[in-house]
Amino acid sequence: MNHLGYLFAANLFVWGAIFFYVFTLIKKNNQLKQDLQLIKETLPKDSES
């Protein structure tokens, strides 16, 4: 029974997809954090001027 290749491929896909999804989440998260920081920095300045 040498179906190791299939088992390997299935594992690859499962973990690949999960990590890819988590990775996109992290990326989006970081981007949003940067945005948030930027806005928070500019907000007080606006109200002063």
């Binding site: 029974m1 179906h3 190791l4 299939y6 088992l7 491929a9 299935a10 594992n11 896909f13 499962v14 997809a17 999960i18 999804y21 988590v22 989440l25 989006k28 998260n29 949003l32 954090k33 945005d35 948030l36 920081q37 806005i39 928070k40 500019t42 907000l43 606006d46 109200s47």
Partner: protein
Amino acid sequence: MNEDNESGPPILIWFTVLMFIAAISAIFMYVPTEKTEGIIQRIMYFHIPCAWLAFFAFFIVFVCSILFLWKKDREWDIYAHASAEIGVVFCSLVLITGPLWAKPVWGTWWVWDARLTSTLVLWLIYIAYLMLRMRTDAGSMRARYAAVVGIAGFLDIPIIHFSVLWWRTFHPKPKMITSEGIGTGMANEMVITLGISLFAFTLLYFLMMEQRIALEKMKDEIDRLKREKLYSN
């Protein structure tokens, strides 16, 4: 600079990691190889949890959609969106691991068997759901439309299931071991391993939900701040 104040990953992450280590070691070291199908049968421990999660996630979409239309609270819309996205990820995994399991065992990538067909249709429904969300501008309209599709989609599942089941009965069944077949003849070790795996994947679902919801809320917060900036007079 932001990483410091996160105070390390919370318990849920550690617990999920731990469960996955347990699940993987069980799958590759503890559980005995199935006699007729051989080593390939170990795919089952990924395949079934993914299918369970996809279905569970879509059920959550259904519940949250109803709650949204009822309460009109943005919170439920966020949950439905997050759950649909995660559901589609796992549903795709089912559709990928399925053929990879089928090829060596049945000798063909795809059979139009009831279970496969209904999973495919399910996947298409929720892809349409996500596309609808992508193509509608943010706001209450998007949430309401998505909720209607979320409800209509889930109610269709039983009818789809029965119709594809009857659809194939006139044709010879492919020579295979249905998952009921495996289920009945499963050894104790297999049941335990499947249980661990199911548990680990369910934890993963909640972990992903948590992250996805936090993400969406942060987006809302940014929108709120931007709005404040726009209307600061």
